[in-house]
Amino acid sequence: MLAELERLYQQALAELEAITDSVALDAWRIAHLGRKAPLMQAFGRMREIPPEERPQVGRRINELRDALQAAYEARAEALRQAELARALQEERLDVTLPGRPRPYGRLHPTTQTIRDIVGIFQSMGFQVFQSREVETDEYNFQLLNIPPHHPARDMQDTFYVATPGVDEDETPPVVLRTHTSPGQIHAMRHYAAQDPENPPPIRVVLPGMVFRYEQITARSEIQFTQVEGLAVGRHITFSDLKGTLTEWARRMFGPGARTRFRPSYFPFTEPSVEMDVECFLCGGKGCSVCKHTGWLEVLGAGMVHPVVLRNGGYDPERYSGFAFGMGPERITMLRHGIQDIRHFWRNDVRFLEQF
C-alpha cells in the first residue's frame, strides 16, 4: 500500500506541475487533498496493514499529505503571482496621453502685479486706501499744487467730464483722475479727521485706475493703473524715501536689484525723484528692453510738497512725508517681455491664460 501511495504522490506532483490556471488547480486540490482523495482515504485502509507497521505507514501518509499541501500552496501562490503580473501588464496605460483638462481661474495680470507691489508695502506697515475715479479739478490738480493754467497741466492730458450748467469753453470742474495722487489728499484728510490738532502718521498705498487723453497705441492707453504710496509723519526724510523704495525694489525684483535716483519734477513733491532699477533682464549689460541703458525707469517719487501737506490737514512745519507712484502695467510689461500695452484691456484669453 505504501508503494501505491508513493506512486500516487509522485503522480499528483507531476499533475500539479502542469497546472496553469486556478480552475484546474482547484480540481487538483479536490482530487488529491479532498476528503475522497486516495491519500485521504488511506487512513481508512489502515486495517489492511499489520499493526506493527501502522505507525510507520501513518507517519508516512502524513508526510506525503503535508508535502502535497505545501506543493499546492506554492503552486497556488505562483499562479496568483503570474495572474497578477498578467493583469498588471494588461492594465498598462499610455502615460503619454494627455491628462484630463481642469478648469483653472486666474487673476488679471494687472491685479497680480498690483498685489505683488502692494503686498510688499503692506509688510512694511502700509495700508490700502482706495478713492474715486471721477474727481474734481480741485482734488486732481489744485490741492496737489497744480493751480489752473499751471504748465504742469501739460504733463497730463486730461479727460474732462461734462457738467450741466458749465459752459464748454470754461475749464470743466470734473475730470477723470489723471493719477492716483488725489488719493493722497483723501487719505490725509481721512486720517487728519481722527485728531485734527495732532493728526496721526500715515502709511498708505493707493492702487487704482487712472485716465489720460491719449491715442491708444502699443505704448499709450486711455486708462491704466497706478499704485501711489504716501508716508507722512513727524520724522520722515528723503533718506527714508530712498531706503523704503530701495527695499521695495529688492523684494520686487530680487535681492541683488540695484537702484539709482535722479532729480525729477512733480508739482506735488519737492524734492522730486525718479527711481531706476538696474535692468533685471540683462543684469545691466544693456538689452532692447532697457534700450541699452542698463536701467529701467520704475517709479517717480518725492517729499510731499508743503502746500500739499497743508491741503491735507498736516502742518508742514511739524510733519513731513514722501509719496511715490508707479505703473503696474509697465512693470508687468517689463517683467514678462510684453511689447504692447493694448493687451491688458483687450482680455484675449490667449494673453490672459499665460499668467
Binding site: 481642469r102 478648469p103 504748465p151 481722527q194 487723453y213 486708462q223 513727524r234 531706503g243 541699452h292
Partner: protein
C-alpha cells in the same frame, strides 16, 4: 531745449566728455533725452547710455577747413562749376553744382578766398539722397572731369537739411584745420521740466553746469557801443496793467543794413532748432536762446508813420472786444478779451509775449529798429497761446516764467549784437518801465530744517557753500541760522516752509541724490483705521478664481449704443443720462459705463473665435450720475459669464454638455459658501433687460436684491458673434456683497454620531417651485434634519400630467446619540405632513 555744446562752452569751461556732460545734466534734473553729434567723435555703438544718439563724426584727417581760390566753368556742363580748392596741403579741383558758387564763376583768383568745408577722398558723409544713410567719397568722373572730393553742404555734414548751396564759413576760419576742431559740435536735447524755466536759455543751463562743477560762469558782456543820438523823446512806453506786464523796455538802433548773420551765428541757431532770417531777427533769437528772455524787433519808421510822424508811444493793455490783428504768420486773429497787446496810438502792434504783428515787423528795407524786451504774466500768455493755438518760442518761455531782471541785459546784449552784425548805430540809453519790481525771496533757516527733510547732516557752512554755487547770496549768522537771498534770475524759490523745501531740493541736487543715505522708516507706525475694502474685494476675487473663473478688466469708457446692444430693446439711452466726456478720444468711448455686462459680452465674443469654453468675471465700478453734487456714484459691480462646454474636450468619453443656467447658479451658491455669507443666497424668478424671461433669477441675500442671474436673451445673443451654446451671465451689487462678508464665523460641531439617510420622493404640481418643496422639508424635519439634496426630477405618465416628482436624499442626525428607526419614522412623518400641507406634495411609494 536744444543746447549746442560749443555755445554752452562760451559761458563755462567743461572738462568732461560729451557723454559725461550729458549724465551730469541729467543728474542735475536737466534730463538729456538725446545727443546729436555734429562733427565730434561718437561713442561706440554698444555703449550703455541713458540717452539716444544720432549724427555724424567728422574724420579730422579727411574733413577740413579749406579755401576756394577760384571758380571755373565746367567744360562739359553749364550747371556745374570747377572749384580750385586749397586744403592747407595742396590744391585740388572739385566739381560742384553749388548755386552759391556760380556768382564767382570766371572772376579769376578770389581775394579773399571763400572758406569752405572740404571733404577729402574717402571721407564719410551723410548721404543727402538717402536719409539716415552715409556715403564714402570715391574717385570718379563727373561729365568727363575727374572728381574725388567735395565741398560740403550742411546736409552732408549733418548740420541741417540745407542742401541748396555749400557752406561758406566766416572769413577767419583757419585753412587746413580739421573741421571737427573748428566747429565740431554736439547738441543736447534737454527735457525742461516746469520748475527749470531758468534753464530755457543756454546761459541758464551753463549756470547749473558751473554750479555742479564748481567752475566760474562767464556772463556775456552787456556793454553797448551807443553812439547815436539819445532815445529820449523818440520813443515812449506806457504800461496800463502792471500785473499783466511788470516790465517793458525798448532800445533803438539806426542805419542798419539787413543781411545774413555771420555763419557761426547761423550754425548755432540751426543747431538750436531755429531758422536764421536776417541779422536783426537772428540777434533777437540768439539772445533769447542765450538768456531765455524773448525779444521783439519793430520797424521804427513804420511806428513813426503810424504816429503821424511823431515819436511813437508804446502802450501795453488788454484787448478790446472784437479787436483783431494780422500776425506775422499772415493770419488775421480775433483777440480774446484777456489777451494783452502791445499797441501804439494807432492800434495793436503785437500779441504780447506770443507773436508780433505783420505790419510793424522788420523787412529787408528796414533802416531803424525799435527793440522790445518785456515780461508778461505767465497765466495770461498760457491762456492766449492755448486759445489761439499759437505755440511760439516766446510764449513757451513766458508761460513758464521769465524773471524781469533779464530784461535789461538781454536788451543791451541784443542791441550790441545788432550793431556788430548789421553795421547800425545804437541810440544812447533805453526806455525802461518797471512798475512792478520782482521781490526775490530771502529765506532764513537752520541746518536742522534741512536734516528734517533730507535726513542729511550738513553744517551751516556746507549748506551755504552749496547754495552760493547757485548764486544765492548766503549769510551764516552767529546763532547758526542761514539766510539765503534768491538770485535775480529765479522765480521758483518760495518763502517760508515752501521756500525751505525749495532750498532743500537745491541742496540735495547739488550734493547729489546718490550720496544721500538710504534709511529704513523709523517713524511711529500709523493707527489701523479699518480699511477693509480692498481685503474683502481680494477675498471675493480669490474665491472666483478658485471656482475656475478668469478675471478680466475692461474699459471704463464706452458708448450708450454699446450698452444698448446688450439689451432686448436695443434702444440707447441719451448721453445726458451718463457721465459724459467733453473731449472723448473716440465716439464709441464717450461715456462712462453703467453696467459691466456689455463689456464682458464683448470680451467673450472676441474670445469665442479661439476658445469654446469661457468662464469670466470682472470686478469694478460703474458710474451713475447723481441729481445732486458734481460727482457720480461709483458703486462696485461683479459680473460673471459662462459659456461653452462644462469641460474642455478630452480624448476619452463623450464631449461635455454645454453649460446652462444651473452652472452659473452653482458658481454663485458656492461663492456664497466660500465667502461664509451669513445666509444662503435666494433665487426667485426675475426679469432683466438682457436675459431670457424664463431663465432669469433675481438673486437675494436676505431681503436685499444683489442682482440678476440668467441666460442671455436669444435676441441679444444673436447680436453678438456667439456659437450655439447658451451664454450665462450675472451682474451683482459688489458693494452689497462685499459688505455682507462676515469678519468671523462660528463652526458648527463636527457630528459624532452617524446620520440616518433616506430617499424621499414627492409628487407635486409642475408649478410648485423646487425651493418651496425644500423649504417644507426643512420646516418639517426640524432640528434633526441635517441635509437635503435634490437628486432627481422626474416627469412621466405614471405620475400624471402636469405633475413632477422631486427625489431628495435627506439626512437626519442628532448631536448626542445615534437616531433609531423609530426616530427616523417620526421625523419622516412630520416632513410628509408638512410637504402635503404647504405644497400639496404626495410621498411616492
Amino acid at each position: 531745449m536744444k543746447v549746442p555744446l560749443s555755445w554752452l562752452k562760451d559761458y563755462v569751461d567743461i572738462p568732461l566728455s560729451v557723454e559725461d556732460l550729458a549724465n551730469l545734466l541729467t543728474s542735475l534734473g536737466l534730463e538729456v533725452e538725446a545727443v546729436r553729434y555734429v562733427g565730434l567723435p561718437m561713442p561706440p555703438a554698444d555703449a550703455r547710455l541713458d540717452f539716444k544718439t544720432s549724427g555724424l563724426a567728422w574724420d579730422p584727417d579727411k574733413i577740413v577747413v579749406a579755401e576756394v581760390r577760384e571758380v571755373l566753368p565746367h567744360p562739359n556742363a553749364d550747371r556745374l562749376v570747377l572749384a580750385r580748392v586749397y586744403d592747407g596741403q595742396a590744391e585740388h579741383q572739385v566739381v560742384t553744382g553749388a548755386p552759391n558758387l556760380f556768382a564767382y564763376k570766371g572772376q579769376g583768383s578770389l581775394d579773399p578766398p571763400l572758406k569752405v568745408a572740404y571733404a577729402r577722398e574717402g571721407a564719410v558723409l551723410l548721404d543727402p539722397y538717402n536719409p539716415g544713410g552715409t556715403l564714402r567719397l570715391k574717385r570718379r568722373k563727373i561729365r568727363g572731369v575727374e572728381s574725388y572730393s567735395m565741398v560740403c553742404s550742411e546736409k552732408e555734414l549733418g548740420i541741417s537739411d540745407e542742401h541748396e548751396g555749400i557752406i561758406l564759413l566766416d572769413a577767419d576760419a583757419p585753412t587746413g584745420v580739421p573741421l571737427a576742431d573748428y566747429m565740431g559740435d554736439a547738441v543736447f536735447d534737454i527735457a525742461i521740466t516746469p520748475n527749470m524755466a531758468r534753464a530755457l536759455g543756454i546761459l541758464g543751463v551753463a549756470r547749473e553746469v558751473a554750479a555742479a562743477l564748481g567752475a566760474p560762469l562767464r556772463v556775456p558782456d552787456t556793454a553797448v557801443v551807443m553812439e547815436g543820438p539819445p532815445i529820449e523823446g523818440r520813443a515812449e512806453v506806457r504800461i496800463t496793467d502792471p500785473d499783466a506786464n511788470p516790465r517793458f523796455a525798448v532800445g533803438l538802433i539806426e542805419d542798419v543794413t539787413l543781411g545774413p548773420s555771420p555763419y557761426e551765428v547761423q550754425r548755432r541757431l540751426k543747431l538750436a532748432g531755429m531758422r536764421p532770417i536776417n541779422n536783426i531777427v537772428d540777434a533777437t533769437n540768439y539772445v533769447m536762446l542765450e538768456w531765455g528772455e524773448p525779444l521783439h524787433a519793430f520797424d521804427y519808421d513804420i511806428l513813426v508813420e503810424r504816429a503821424g510822424g511823431q515819436a511813437p508811444t508804446i502802450i501795453t493793455r488788454r484787448a478790446r472786444p472784437g479787436e483783431r490783428l494780422t500776425t506775422l504768420d499772415g493770419e488775421e486773429r480775433v483777440l480774446p478779451p484777456y489777451a494783452v497787446l502791445v499797441t501804439d496810438t494807432a492800434g495793436p502792434l503785437s500779441i504780447a509775449g506770443v507773436m508780433g504783428g505783420a505790419e510793424s515787423e522788420v523787412r529787408p528795407t528796414t533802416r531803424r529798429v525799435l527793440l522790445e524786451a518785456a515780461v508778461w504774466d505767465p497765466i495770461t500768455i498760457r491762456r492766449v497761446s492755448k486759445a489761439l493755438k499759437l505755440t511760439t518760442e516766446a510764449a513757451y518761455r513766458y508761460q513758464r516764467g521769465v524773471h524781469p531782471a533779464l530784461v535789461e541785459p538781454a536788451l543791451l546784449r541784443a542791441l550790441e549784437l545788432m550793431r556788430r552784425w548789421s553795421g547800425g548805430t545804437v541810440a544812447q540809453g533805453i526806455v525802461d518801465r518797471y512798475p512792478k519790481p520782482q521781490r526775490d525771496p530771502v529765506n532764513r533757516f537752520r541746518p536742522a530744517d534741512i536734516r528734517r527733510l533730507l535726513g542729511l547732516d550738513l553744517t551751516a557752512t556746507e549748506i551755504a557753500n552749496l547754495l552760493r554755487r547757485l548764486e544765492f547770496r548766503v549769510t551764516v549768522h552767529d546763532d547758526g541760522t542761514i539766510e539765503a537771498q534768491t538770485p535775480p534770475h529765479r522765480l521758483d524759490i518760495g518763502e517760508g516752509v515752501v521756500g525751505i523745501a525749495d532750498l532743500a531740493e537745491e541742496i540735495a541736487r547739488l550734493y547729489g541724490y546718490d550720496r544721500i543715505p538710504a534709511t529704513r522708516l523709523a517713524d511711529e507706525l500709523p493707527p489701523y483705521l479699518g480699511l477693509e475694502r480692498a481685503r474683502r474685494e481680494d477675498r471675493i476675487k480669490d474665491a472666483l478664481v478658485v471656482l475656475g473663473l478668469q478675471e478680466v478688466i475692461t474699459y471704463r469708457l464706452t458708448a450708450p449704443e454699446r450698452e444698448a446692444r446688450a439689451t432686448v430693446a436695443g434702444e440707447p439711452r441719451p448721453d445726458s443720462e451718463y457721465v459724459r466726456l467733453v473731449n472723448p478720444i473716440a465716439h464709441d468711448r464717450r461715456v462712462l459705463r453703467q453696467t459691466l455686462l456689455p463689456n464682458l459680452l464683448e470680451v467673450a465674443e472676441r474670445n469665442a473665435r479661439f476658445v469654446a469654453r469661457q468662464a469670466l468675471f470682472e470686478w469694478g465700478p460703474v458710474f451713475l450720475p447723481r441729481e445732486e453734487g458734481l460727482l457720480p456714484d461709483e458703486p462696485q459691480r461683479l459680473a460673471l459669464l459662462l459659456t461653452g462646454p462644462r469641460e474642455d474636450d478630452f480624448w476619452a468619453g463623450a464631449a461635455a454638455e454645454a453649460m446652462d443656467f444651473y452652472d452659473l447658479k452653482g458658481v454663485l451658491e458656492t461663492l456664497a459658501r466660500a465667502l461664509h455669507l451669513p445666509q444662503p443666497l435666494r433665487f426667485e424668478p426675475g426679469e432683466h433687460p438682457s436675459m431670457h424671461p424664463g431663465k432669469t433669477a433675481r438673486v437675494l441675500l436676505g431681503d436685499k436684491v444683489l442682482g440678476h442671474l440668467g441666460e442671455l436673451h436669444p435676441q441679444v445673443k444673436a447680436r453678438y458673434d456667439f456659437g450655439p451654446a447658451a451664454v450665462l451671465v450675472a451682474e451683482l451689487d459688489g458693494c452689497a456683497l462685499r459688505d455682507a462678508l462676515p469678519d468671523r464665523f462660528t463652526l458648527r460641531p463636527v457630528p459624532q454620531f452617524p446620520p440616518v439617510i433616506e430617499d424621499l420622493a414627492f409628487v407635486v404640481d409642475e408649478t410648485v417651485p423646487a425651493a418651496a418643496v425644500e423649504d417644507a422639508i426643512r420646516a418639517g424635519g426640524g432640528a434633526y434634519l441635517r441635509a437635503v439634496t435634490l437628486f432627481d426630477v422626474y416627469r412621466g405618465q405614471n405620475i400624471g400630467a402636469g405633475k413632477k416628482s422631486l427625489a431628495y436624499r435627506v439626512a437626519y442626525q442628532a448631536p448626542d446619540r445615534t437616531l433609531s428607526d423609530k426616530d427616523a419614522a417620526r421625523i419622516r412623518k412630520k416632513i410628509v405632513k408638512r410637504v402635503a400641507r404647504e405644497v400639496g406634495g404626495v410621498l411616492r411609494g
